[in-house]
Each structure stands twice: as C-alpha cells, then as structure tokens.
C-alpha cells in the first residue's frame, strides 16, 4: 500500500466508468495507429506506382563539353571523347548505399549508332525488366522482344526511317530485328530503337560498358539529396542529376495524404483528451470530500495532483497498449481486404508500442492536469465547513 493505492482502488470501484473511459481513449488511439499504418502503406504503394512514370535520378560519366539530351535528362558529351561507366560496378555501388531500401529501379543504358539501309540510327541498350518498371506506360504494336537480338522502335523513328516489324538493324558485328513499334509516348523514346543491353554491348564490343543509368528512388522518409550524396560518395567520377521537380511532385502527393492523416489524428486525439479531461473533472467534483479529508490529514497539493495524474496515467497506459494492438490488427485486416501492395511492410514493433504507450500516458496526464490542478485547490473547509 502506498499513494498509488487510492487511484487504483478508485478505478477498480468505478469499473464501468473506467471501462468506458479506457474504451473511448482506446478507440481514439486505435484510429490514429490504424490511420498512420494505412497512410504509410498507401503512401509507400503510391510512390512505388509513381516510379512507373519515370526515374528521378540520372547518373553519367563526368563531362565538361557538349551536352546531349535524353528524355529530359542531360547526358553529357556522347559525340566527342565518349566516357563510359562500368555497368557492374555502378549497379553494385548504387545498390549498396545506406538508403538502398529506397532504391526502386536501376536502369542502365548504352547508346550505339547502327544503320538501316545506310541511314544512321541510335540503338539504346536497356535491361527490359528494369525499363518496364519505370516506363509502365509503354504500349506497342507487334510483340515484345524475347530473344537477345530482338528490338523495338519508337513510332516517329519508324515513320521517318520507314522501318517496319521484322526490319533488320545493323549494329556493330551483327544485326537486331525489330519485333514491335512503340505507340506514341510524346517523349524521346519515339525517336529511338531499344534492344537488350547485353546484346548491344556484345555487338558493339563494349562489354560491361554503359553511358548512363536512370534510377528511380523512393523518397518518403529520405530526401532525394541524401540519396544523391550517398551515390556520389560511392561513385566519385560521375555526375548525378536529381530531377527535383519530379521528386517534389511525388512527395507533395504523398505528403498531402500524410498531412490529411495527421490532421484527422490530431482531431481524434484532441477529442479523446477532452473526454478524458471531462471525466476527470467530474471525478474531482464527485470526490471533493475525499480530497478535503486528505488535505485535512496533511496531504500536500502535489500529492493530490499525483493521485489524479496517476489515475489518468493508468487509463493512458491501458488505452495505449490496447489502442496500438487494435490499430495494428485493424490496419493489417483493412489493408488485406482492400488488397493494397505493401501490407507486409506493417511490422509489429514492441519498441514502437512502448513509445506509443508512453506518449499516450503523458498525453493522458496532460489532459488530466487541469482537473488535477482544480483538485489541489480544494481545502478541507470548502467541503465540510460549518459555522
């Protein structure tokens, strides 16, 4: 038995009221945890989907002369004193940065000149799987290349050069055959021929060489500048361009969702705290005689505050634990029902639960602070005074 006996016994005595209060607070915390988990997962999923509409980082060899443009990116000098990057080394370096979890796609490219009926054409070597992840919007007539010596061509290049399906393109020591024509994209892709990177390297005699790499990075939780800096430290002899406008557009969409969730969470917490405060105020008014007696037998005002603060803290601890567990289970259930990619990212984290519980406990004590302060002002003669 100690000073905590009083709040514990009082909560036990008013079991129904304590239960209602814990339930109300738990529902509030549950909603906040669920909203947070769902928004994080939806944000993550949203960002992944958005990477399908283009890369946001471009890496190319250091160059100090004529710039050539590709897809809105500056490629450096491709025509004079061409410099190459090592495909393996560059790829490995990017995949090993501290924020490697944020790297969604790494799409290396080698641009080589080929010919079709004596006319020069640019053939871009790509890794099909990686390219499709950042160019989900590609659609084509014909069929996708299956064999290493097959290629596709942009619609404008096909029109201007008169290239059709099954046309052979001479490249280095061999040829690649066109199997499909890209539908109009409105980008530089309309002017190019795309073939398998390793075939292009082999035919051009440039094994492991690439001109540049497009990277799609997920930027939530990590600014793009940090990712660029980490890649730069791994690849000091490259120039790295971050397409800030693309990043900002994506982040503003995701941040909008997060801000919305934050606002809703704050409203829920404020309402829950207000209700707790009202309950505590009612409790103080109801227990004025008890408080008066405690003051009469020498309890200081700080001891009275401790009694009511501890009562609120117990409610907060219960609500924190139940709310976190409920929020976790609810968000997993909800996300699995609406079939959103990334449900597996929600992990049960005991440390996070402890932190959340501590936060809720502190919030509860703060909510009870005004009623508790009111309790400290009660004097014995206020409640049992006779003349």
């Amino acid at each position: 038995m100690n000073i905590l006996t009083l709040p514990l016994k009082n909560l036990k005595r008013k079991l129904l009221r304590t239960g209602i209060l814990i339930t109300v607070f738990t529902v509030g915390i549950l909603s906040v945890v669920m909203l947070y988990n769902v928004s994080e997962t939806i944000g993550h999923s949203l960002e992944k989907k958005m990477t399908e509409f283009g890369a946001n980082i471009l890496i190319y060899p250091k160059s100090d002369s004529l710039n050539v443009s590709y897809g809105g990116f500056s490629l450096g000098n491709l025509s004079y004193s061409v410099k190459y990057l090592s495909e393996k080394e560059t790829n490995d370096s990017i995949r090993s940065i501290a924020n490697k979890e944020n790297i969604s796609t790494v799409a290396p490219k080698l641009v080589e000149l080929g010919t079709y009926k004596e006319q020069p054409v640019a053939v871009t070597g790509i890794i099909w799987a990686e390219e499709f992840r950042i160019k989900n919007y590609w659609a084509l007539d014909g069929k996708m290349p299956v064999n290493p010596n097959e290629a596709i061509i942009g619609s404008r290049a096909a029109d201007l050069l008169g290239i059709t399906i099954n046309s052979p393109i001479n490249l280095g020591t061999g040829t690649v055959i066109i199997t499909g024509i890209l539908k109009k994209t409105g980008t530089e892709d309309d002017n190019l021929i795309f073939a398998d990177l390793h075939s292009v390297q082999s035919l051009a005699g440039k094994q492991d060489k690439i001109n540049f790499i497009e990277v799609a990075a997920l930027c939530s939780g990590c600014p793009i500048d940090d990712i660029v800096a980490q890649i730069q430290s791994k690849l000091p002899n490259t120039d790295i361009n971050a397409l800030q406008n693309i990043v900002k557009q994506r982040m503003s969409t995701i941040n909008y969702v997060k801000r919305l969730v934050l606002m809703v969470s704050v409203v829920i917490l404020v309402i829950a705290c207000f209700m707790l405060s009202m309950f505590m105020l009612a409790s103080v008014n109801e227990r004025k005689k008890e408080i008066g007696l405690l003051r009469a037998i020498g309890y200081s005002s700080s001891k009275i505050f401790i009694i009511f603060g501890f009562e609120a803290m117990i409610i907060g601890i219960f609500a924190g634990v139940l709310g976190y567990l409920g929020g976790y289970v609810s968000s997993v259930q909800l996300l699995s029902r609406i079939d959103i990619e990334g449900t597996g990212h929600i992990l049960f984290d005991p440390a996070l639960m402890a932190t959340a519980t501590l936060f809720v406990a502190v919030l509860s004590v703060l909510s009870a602070a005004l009623p508790a302060l009111k309790a400290t002002k009660i004097q014995p003669t206020d409640v049992f005074s006779q003349i």
């Binding site: 100690n2 009083l6 016994k9 405690l294 200081s300 014995p380 006779q386 003349i387």
Partner: protein, 229 residues
C-alpha cells in the same frame, strides 16, 4: 500548548458575516476541552482555525511557541500529518477502502509502501477502538458507531499531540454517542489532548474545560469539571 489570541473571522458571500469577534482560547496539554454553543455561534469555525484547516482574518494561533500564521504551507502539512488530527461528524471514510486501509490513510501519502511496523501499529489502534476482526471490512458494512471508531483510529494512527473532534456524536444515537465520548475520554486519560465541539451539553461533564460560545464570542468558561459525569 495551543493558544488562540483575539481571533477574528468573517465570511463574505453576498453579505459579510462576522463569525468570530476576537476569541482567545488557551488549550493546555492533556486537557479535554469542550467548545459548546448553539448553531451559528462560531464553535466549528474556531475548531477549524485551531486545527489549521482555516486561517483567521486577524489574531494568531500559537502551537508550542510556533505562530501558525507565519509558517509555510509545507510546515502546516507536517503539523496536520504528525501533530494534529481531526474527526468529523460525518466520519468521511473512503467507501472503497477497507477499515485497515482507511486507518492507514495518513501513511498512504508516500510512494514508498507502508512499513510492516506502521501496519502493526494500525492493527493495534483498530483493536484499541474495539474493531478487532473487522479490519478487512468496507465502511458500508459497519454501523455508524463503528464507522466513527474507524475515523478515530485513523486520527490516532500517527500518534497526534492534539485530537480535534467536530460534533463526533452528531450522527450517532445516544448510546453509541456516549460510547464514543467514553472512548475519547479514555484516550484523554492516556495523555491525548482533545478539543471537542458539541452542542450536546450532556457530554461537557467529560471535559476538563468547557468553553461556551455565543455570537462569535466566548460567553463562559468553566475549568476542572471532569469526573462529575
């Protein structure tokens, strides 16, 4: 031991009521002092001022040479914990605490658990007030007289120097009230100083000193009357 000099106290609501108009009282160690008077005479206000529950508008209360009007709130709390105890007409027991827990209430103000020694002492007091075997009961399961005994035990548990009793028999029938007064007299004969407010004149025979109040002033004081009951 406890002196009140020229105490003035008024309460203001819509109008100002002068409840005490310059009252002087001297409580001697080991005395059983009874303050009597009609309702509104100011006797309970006087008791509240003597027991530090209320501060006078003017005048001073001196306890063992210490002017209680000039000490800190912390010191007042210490005096309430260790030196003074108050029992009330309405017992003011905590309905959700057992008899033992109610008696131990003065010890429950700390984070450190109540010691075995304090617990054993509380059990002795419970036995002393005639409630042995009822220490685990809730107050709702006790009679009025038993509840007042619990509140007396609670007041005694920290071995106070002065026990203030405000109409301790006011809620009890005549027989139970007499039992309670006899218990208080026993405690007084063991050395406890008691100041009791009552309007039941039959209990004044147990007192060493009877102070009669009327309209906020002392209108009579009788000494050395105990034993005539």
């Amino acid at each position: 031991m406890l002196q009140a000099h020229n105490i003035v106290k008024s309460f203001t609501t819509d109008t100002t009521t002068n409840v005490l108009k310059g009252v002087t009282i001297d409580i001697q160690q080991g005395d059983f002092t009874c303050i009597v008077g009609r309702s509104g005479s100011g006797k309970s206000t006087m008791l509240n001022i003597l027991s530090t529950l209320l501060r006078p508008n003017s005048g001073n209360v001196v306890y063992n040479g210490l002017d209680l009007g000039k000490v800190s709130v912390n010191k007042i709390n210490k005096i309430r914990q260790n030196d003074f105890s108050v029992i009330f007409q309405s017992f003011h027991l905590f309905p959700y605490l057992s008899v033992l827990e109610n008696v131990l209430l003065p010890y429950l103000s700390e984070v450190t658990p109540v010691s075995k020694k304090s617990r054993a002492h509380a059990m002795q007091i419970i036995e002393r007030v005639g409630l042995k075997g009822k220490e685990d009961r809730l107050p709702g399961k006790l009679s009025g007289g038993e509840q007042q005994r619990v509140s007396i035990a609670r007041a005694l548990v920290k071995q106070p120097k002065i026990l203030f009793a405000d109409e301790p028999t006011g809620s009890l029938d005549i027989k139970t009230g007499k039992d309670i007064i006899e218990l208080l007299k026993e405690l007084n004969s063991e050395g406890l100083t008691i100041v009791m407010v009552t309007h039941a004149l039959e209990y004044t025979s147990y007192a060493d000193t009877v102070i009669e109040m009327k309209d906020g002033q002392i209108c009579g004081e009788i000494h050395e009357i105990a034993g005539s009951a």
